[in-house]
Symmetry: D2
Subunit: 417 residues, 4 copies
């Protein structure tokens, strides 16, 4: 018996039952402090304020996506496609690390903590650094991640409009929120995957599962990701960090802060910063949800009444009242509200903007200009899902819906309602 | 249409589907900052280091137990038992608040952060304070909680060896860990509940579900609550806080700390402290998991090599190696290990105790001396579960198993294995 | 304790956990031989030949729909709507009995066993007869069933485009087939139901669940109800009974048959027959899936080679090869196939029609001309779902898809494929 | 792409998601009429009269057990054990066919339809016949089935006290009844399987899952397999066939019967019969649940009042009242009941025995004299589960519980109750 085999690590997962780590290198990466850090970053940020079960982490999602990748590779191999051990490992590592660049609450804070550098770029920076540490053993994973490897379908498995990333997050977010709308048949879709001319396709028998996947994603957007109260909470968080930055900048005031958060919140960090200062990535890796929440809790007692009020509201879940509609809100309505708030809270106009504001959101949809979902018919003909489907026309599945929202404190809600 | 009724708040719950908050007072309590704080305290502390889904909070468990209480009351009413609206509300509030006194990681830290005061006592302190704030409307809830109300079965619903607290936590912990061993038929048990002579009983038809519940609890102890790696992580955390206290006390050294944590970690807090200083409860309410984790992350860079090593190990999930056995570990074995560790890490003997130590744990079992589980036979005869069951004798279900464990850093693991 | 209450019957249900029978009259009806007979009629006929778990019965579905009805009534009462005990009982009984008129494999055999009389009409005949037997206690249920009762919303709960019938069957069919596409949030939809101007509506918060329900139903049509192999099996069954009738009529040949099946298969039964001969309903009630399958098994050895071949094919699950497409199949293609089959099997042209044939199917969709799904916005405004939804236009959700199919024995499949 | 691979057949299964048939030979066997016949034999006989979802068939269970076998083989191979393709196929076929010898309602009818020949013996007869038909390709499967193959662990996978047969049926029976007591972690147990000295063992980490499995099986016995109402129904069925046989034998009376049922019900069939008449196996293969239920339905109108009353009671689910206790029922009590029944129904004493009778049942337990469950500790030491477990002593897990029951018509129930 090979002792190396016996060490194979198994994770308990309430969704798939068990997740097996396929090899030693993957296991070593998974144990790296930079990856373990994802245990402290929630996948859905503040969504747990609305769906109390939604506390799952980016660590758990990455494990889940890795599991689906190994299943997809098994499925393709069973259909006769050659995928070497190295390629399988590369694809597995690429999906495991695909989100390693996320910071805390990154959906809300992508532009507050770091600017002009996306989480994908930071993921690449981490991968490059890990590749040095692991003596080049991540090179193939990086090529697959960047879509520079000849077998394009490996990249499509991890990043296309029907990839294992999406399959896992829809399933996982449904499970932990309890919103059954997002349940997708990842099993069936993976069993129906095939490769034609180096393109990932889904066999015709799986078309209803693909349709369901598209619809499920659409519904999850409005029911969870863009849920009113989630938007309200995220905007509250953005405003808190904006105010904290403002205070810090203008008044040289001392704000309680963890060291890592201080560096990112009060410095001006962009892509170039990471390249100029190679230690910065390590500091970024020290940041997680705890830094943000701890600081906000302390700030509830700050002397700045805007900051303390905003923080108290978030900590006690006293979220903004939020209205959604298809048209922009009239300037007059916002101005009147702002006036009332200024008066009641004794704020100047600029400060009042922290308490009343309007913006808009729209859902992500199927985009014909990105890597498409292809359906393989029985006779070997490959079609875009929007052509193959009897149910879903391209106009329907690619239709973006935009909604405008208006936020203000609950105490200013019109009582007539 | 009654607008008050329409406001009835519904929570999404992945376990029960929906949880409806039964009335305005309960909803107000649920929105109180002291209750909202439970959103930031995980039910199972560090268990997520072993079962990555186990991130559910005390907030979520309290909601779940409240839901089961309303179901149990409905079930008893359907069987003809009179339970007034006030009594129902009292029982509901009592279960909602039963764990409000828990601090962060309280399973591990019950004696590190506060001493000589249990979480139950702190729960009562919170309830007393809330009763003042809510003008006496919690009085009945408090009497039920303290088992001072005439209808004893209401107390038994919330605190006995088959109460809604245990039903919810077994179900919830199973769900989020993915360990199916703990699944219990809470539905069936609640449908089979009845009251005889003011005692909560379970009708004979439900006996197999009760047996299953007892076994499930037993298995969850060893599979989850006392899982080796969980014990290892909890002991690491205890040692960290012990070292931090020690450093702070002896050397007046400045340790990064959130204000609330500082008060509890470095002060000597007991039951009397809360009574002497009425503001203390409010400060306790500011403490949650974030304070602990944030501080530990900062301490990874502390100059004390014991503290920084321990903290780094926890943050990077480099847990102690842990051995379990039925007999105590020989002193000689421990001494030899301590010697090696001292040498390698260059520590004095006392410091080495942070890295090698032995203790023991035992599971909680059915205890004939506590409020028993009673089975109602068809002819109206009431028996203890251990007499009514054909499968489980009292000797079996009340047998406590004690296990000894030995912890030390992984690098000292015997390589032969 | 009221002994009547204690008798309340509980059913184990893998979907809802438990189903409680609400009252004595409902329990008596449920125990009536005419209702118990539904235990022997599968909800999905021959679908288990494709999805082996799909063996659930009309009995089980009726229980499930009854359960959802009691939940819907509870939910509406909690919102302040007056529903008397009699009305609740009426609605419950009406849904319990709504499908009592189904015969075995009625989806396939509606026109083979009885003609010119629908299962709904037979349901009404049963209800009328039971009303006599139960001394008029079903009168209100019958009025609700026929939509003759003043509170129209009670009828809408049991028969509209978003009724408890559909909610249960989608959920149940998904569960037993394992096709997750059909999972609907019946809990959420029921919690969001309300009544405005005597019309059943769904509150805006539930709109995504309603959208999901419409999509789920659409996908279930193509994935399960109109699945190719299911169509193939059903057509085989229809042809078997057609041939049996033909043989019996023409040749006075003795065919093995259960007495009840003989009466319906070989007689000419229509609506008038039931009225003229009051004993006929009782004989119809003796028919179930067993009669059909038993007879077919015996017919596998019949001397008529068409009948025996068809029966052998069904019993051994040697189904027709079936092709589906959007356009009709060319007559030439069918004629050529028929010729080959005639030659190989030595049949005359008419006999060959049992082995090759083409027809078409289409899915049921949202129909604006039927009882619509109404959404209640926050301001009290009521809209049709197709207007309220951002995702689903009326053109999309009411689009019927028609598909043509061609069936022939597998041995004639073109080998090139 | 290998077209043979693409033909790989997938079954939808609500429990495992998908079940893949591993090879062509297995697929051919699965399509054989003798195996397809298991689609018409329910796994749990009349249990659906108590748990309405329990309609799953022996076909579905055999598929499920086959699925677990392929998973177990994968798991053992991953641990470095050599299992050739031929051996894997042999084990898979052996488990697929292990129950092929079951007749309809065989739990109840094992001694009514065939005597002195067990279903295992008939399974072997079928396998031998199939081996001829498939030109010897089942030889290895038969050797594994009979435990004549050198690698004993392959036999243990399919027939021991922790085999894939039991894992699947507990899981499946739990799923379809909705009784969560029987849920077992088949995934975890299979992942923890290993082989030491040609013996199947479970690694120590899986011990709690094994304990849970033993307890689950015990609870399923009393909650489902030996449920009072199930016992009542099965005894009613046994009495019906006994009476039918009696009538047929004594009076040469013509009873409606399907041809296959007639042969087995009215002939005297034992093991020798199958050997003497090689066509008998084919006739046995024509028998299924439909024959039995159809005949009973017709017999409800038979002129023998004992037979017609018994049949009517079964068809309308008017089961015997059944009492269970630990001691035998006093002869006097039974005699008094018999007298009353004789008088009321106007029967002779022998006829009355069909309506009142007593017998006993006992559950199956862990038996140290059969193939044991072995636990592999970390140091390579192998122990019996009863020694390795802290929770379950051998006395507890091997304790058989015997219960006596008394059956009689419900109308004779003492009304005082």
């Amino acid at each position: 018996m090979n002792p190396a085999v016996l060490k194979r690590k198994i994770f308990n997962d309430p969704i798939y039952g068990f997740i097996t780590v396929p090899d030693e290198l993957t296991f070593a990466l998974l144990n790296h402090p930079w990856f373990q850090r994802l245990r402290r970053i929630k996948q859905l940020g503040l969504t747990n304020l609305v769906y109390p079960g939604a506390l799952h982490t980016r660590f758990h999602h990455a494990l889940g996506a890795m599991h689906l990748m190994t299943e997809a590779i098994d499925s393709l191999r069973m259909k006769g496609h050659q995928i070497s051990e190295e390629e399988a490992q590369g694809a597995t590592i690429a999906i495991l690390l695909h989100d390693i660049g996320h910071g805390p609450f990154s959906h809300a804070l992508e532009h507050s903590l770091v600017s002009h550098v996306s989480h994908e770029e930071i993921s690449e920076l981490f991968m490059a650094q890990l590749n040095i540490e692991f003596k080049g053993r991540l090179s193939l994973a990086i090529r697959i991640f960047r879509n520079e490897y000849k077998k394009k379908f490996l990249h499509q498995l991890l990043s296309s409009q029907l990839d294992v990333d999406r399959l896992d997050y829809l399933k996982r977010d449904s499970f932990f929120t309890g919103v059954s709308e997002g349940i997708v048949s990842s099993d069936r879709i993976i069993k129906m995957m095939n490769v034609i001319d180096d393109e990932l396709v889904v066999e015709l028998k799986g078309i209803y599962s693909v349709e369901k996947f598209i619809i499920a994603r659409r519904l999850m957007y409005w029911q969870v990701y863009l849920h009113k109260a989630v938007l309200s909470a995220e905007n509250l968080l953005v405003n808190i960090l904006k105010r904290a930055k403002e205070l810090s900048a203008k008044e040289h005031e001392e704000l309680f802060c963890t060291p890592a958060l201080r560096r990112f919140l009060f410095g001006k960090i962009n892509r170039k910063s990471f390249i100029d200062d190679t230690s910065l990535l390590g500091i970024f890796a020290e940041l997680d949800d705890n830094d943000v929440m701890t600081s906000i809790k302390v700030w509830t007692k700050h002397s700045d009444k805007v900051l303390s009020r905003l923080c108290t509201n978030l900590v006690n879940r006293n979220l903004y009242c939020i209205e959604l509609q298809k048209k922009p809100f009239p300037k007059k309505q916002i101005d009147e509200l702002r006036k009332k708030i200024q008066d009641r809270y004794k704020l100047d106009a600029k400060e009042a903007d922290y308490f009343v504001f309007s913006a808009n959101v729209s859902n992500d949809t199927y985009r014909p200009d990105k890597i498409r979902i292809k359906i393989l018919s029985k006779n070997g003909f490959v079609q875009d899902i929007s052509d193959a489907s009897d149910q879903l026309g391209i106009d329907m599945i690619s239709r973006t819906v935009r909604k405008f929202f208006l936020c203000y404190p609950k105490e200013f809600r019109d009582k007539k309602e």
